[in-house]
Symmetry: C2
Subunit: 425 residues, 2 copies
């Protein structure tokens, strides 16, 4: 049994490791087109900001670890250029042919456009971040333009501002963080402006034509599907690879995981494409288990994420009110402000937004903005979403309280109580 994994960052290595644990005797090979494997791509903005001092700090495991500890062969700088599934064969860019019994496609995503100008950068791979850092140190630009108000765009804007540049951020839509939600966008906008980032919403731009000392193109990603598509794998309506709940593509024995494929949304039940590192790991584990002969199911995604924007923690899970309406729900929304912990433990302000369905009274989504206390509230909401919890049960949760850690009236519960009143109207 030979399992070939394409992609050596999050999903690919999770798949390979899981497969090894299940099948101690299979031959497992991972092909990675870049130089490094197993680096935390989510840490790249912090390399820019200076919190991370070198790319090596982001590397979780070196190839030797996988080779020696897990008996997984790692081949870097090896791009898979074609797949002939009839012959169970992958072809490398070098022309080398590799036979497989099971294939796990974890080739990730790539920026939608290629940069042409030397002062235009991406922040997608380790190499992107290193080149950008070198440029900043050598050229010392005083102004920066960032195109794209998603996670990467906001983190890049924050990092460049922290380095002292004058930063202008452009977002094509009216919403930041891909969250159609005026409340969230307004709160984040205010914070960015407070820390001196100039914001232009609803302004689509061509990054190549922006005038600034340095330009970050964070205008979006595209899933790496072409090779598998040519091999006959079906794409979903999002343009990413369609997969079963077992993470199998339409090609029998070919699994996919991570930023290249879709996943079922746990609230709507429909396939979505939300490229995120943790999701990639979870998908990879399931794809790897099934490639090794198990029959595991991927639980789906809620789009849960958290990002630090100019010192503010901004987190979302599930659907915003506007997204919920588009999905056919009858959404009701409540927002409350509270404190993360007791005042005498310097509790900072936290804002919680909850969205529920009027008919089923089920929770549909949440957004939380604050400081260190955001994680607890968003993860609790994410667990409630996974359980299909109604607002009554949410409002009655038995959560932990002690003054150094939380608030006696937890803002999540207070918000759920307010939502109940709106549902009862």
């Amino acid at each position: 049994m030979r399992i070939v994994v394409v992609g050596g960052v999050a999903a690919g290595l999770s798949a390979a490791s899981r497969a090894r644990r299940i099948d101690p005797s299979a031959e497992i090979v991972v092909f990675e087109k870049g130089k490094r494997i197993s680096y935390g791509a989510c840490g790249l903005p912090y390399l820019l900001e200076g919190q991370v001092r070198s790319i090596e700090q982001l590397v979780v495991y070196k190839p030797e670890f996988f080779e020696k500890e897990r008996n997984i062969r790692i081949r870097t700088e090896s791009e898979v250029a074609a797949v002939h599934h009839g012959r169970r064969e992958a072809v490398l860019a070098s022309g080398e042919r590799v036979r497989y019994d099971r294939l796990v496609w974890a080739a990730g995503a790539r920026p939608a456009r290629r940069a042409a100008q030397p002062r235009v950068f991406r922040l997608h791979t380790d190499e992107d971040a290193l080149r950008l850092n070198e440029f900043l140190e050598a050229e010392r630009p005083r102004t920066a333009a960032v195109a794209g108000g998603g996670y990467i765009g906001l983190e890049a804007a924050t990092a460049l501002r922290a380095r002292g540049l004058r930063v202008r951020l452009y977002e094509a839509s009216t919403a930041l963080l891909h969250r159609e939600d005026a409340w969230l966008t307004k709160r984040v906008t205010e914070r960015l402006e407070q820390c001196g980032v100039e914001l232009r919403l609803n302004e689509p731009v061509d990054p190549e034509s922006l005038e600034a000392g340095v330009v970050i193109d964070a205008t979006g990603l595209r899933p790496n599907v072409e090779v598998l598509e040519q091999a006959g794998a079906a794409l979903g309506r999002t343009g990413a690879l369609a997969v079963s709940e077992h993470m199998e593509t339409s090609l029998h024995g070919v699994f996919a995981a991570g930023d290249c494929c879709e996943a079922r949304h746990i609230v709507t039940g429909r396939p979505v494409w939300i490229p995120l590192g943790t999701t990639a790991n979870r998908m990879g584990r399931v794809a790897g288990a099934n490639a090794a002969g198990r029959r595991e199911r991927f639980e789906g995604v809620a789009g849960t994420s958290i990002v630090r924007v100019a010192g503010l923690a901004v987190a979302v899970t599930g659907l915003s009110q506007q997204q919920a309406r588009r999905e056919g729900f009858s959404p009701v929304e409540a927002v409350v402000e509270g404190r993360e912990r007791a005042r005498y433990f310097f509790g900072k302000t936290i804002a919680v937004q909850l969205v529920a369905d009027r008919r089923s009274r089920r929770l549909l989504g949440a957004a939380v903005i604050g400081d260190d206390g955001v994680l607890a509230r968003i993860n609790t909401a994410a667990a409630a979403l996974a359980a299909g919890m109604d607002v009554e049960t949410l409002a009655g949760l038995d959560l932990a309280y002690a003054p150094p850690y939380s608030a006696v009236a937890d803002p999540l519960l207070v918000c759920a109580q307010q939502l109940l009143r709106l549902l009862d109207r």
Copy 2:
């Protein structure tokens, strides 16, 4: 309609406020035997530690707030000494008689014993904390003995140690924090000893006979049930007041909430007595709603709590393995250590313990020990318990990740994955 509430701290004021919101015209009176109402009793140890500078900082609302803003009459230093439910009449210690249509009994709990010696203190009421503080400032004792290894005992030991006293702590059972769990007790013991608290487990003592400059008696509480019991209300098997899911006692029209009554445990379905401030508030809300004519259900308790012990956050929810076995489950347990957040954001160690039932594969309980990241993990587990979630779903939760806030492989999920492997064995 006159609603009489007995008790003006957590449960009583929650009940009165909720009743007012539902019925704008009812006459609502709160009787409190102490001088103050609405103070955060959970903050008393921090008064001792110095984090809280005066008792006034712990007072959430003054009587005037309730009188003016909520049209709720507050009568302090007014103890209810008898209830004649046939006549719908409460009798104060002064002899005054007060008629009611609905009664909410939220009289709390009290220390099991009265202190005789002047250097023996409790840490139950605001007055206790003030007297203790005065004694410490006047007498400057150099040694302290604490009897009882529950929340109050551990917080008191921590606070006295922080004030420079040599502290010895006695616990009658072999378990700290009322959690029959050797792992948790060992971790907490190690930390206490590291910070110089001498610990004597399995050593029942009479606080009055302990030799030390100051003694804290934290040996346990007893629910204040006697007055209602004499009025004919039934007690449960725990010795606290028995209540329906609507928080109604066996006396029609008499509700109870807080530390004086039982609640249904959401894992076992059985009545338990776990006196905690947040639970008291939640019970109070339901009791108040039903006293005002609604028909609301109390969701139950999971015993979720968090406490700071010598700088360590220690949290539990649901059942420990030993408790689960006694309740007839077939428990399986996993423990993992991980990091609260990315290493380059100074992520500290966190340990997660999960207990599940082998037959149903349902989560039964969790314990988490660490720092600021404990709240997120324990509350997520508490939500999972409320949903009756199985370990597969828990392991597949879509939780939030960004390096400043969390770990890419969340220790809660890693622990759930490990538990799955044990369940599959």
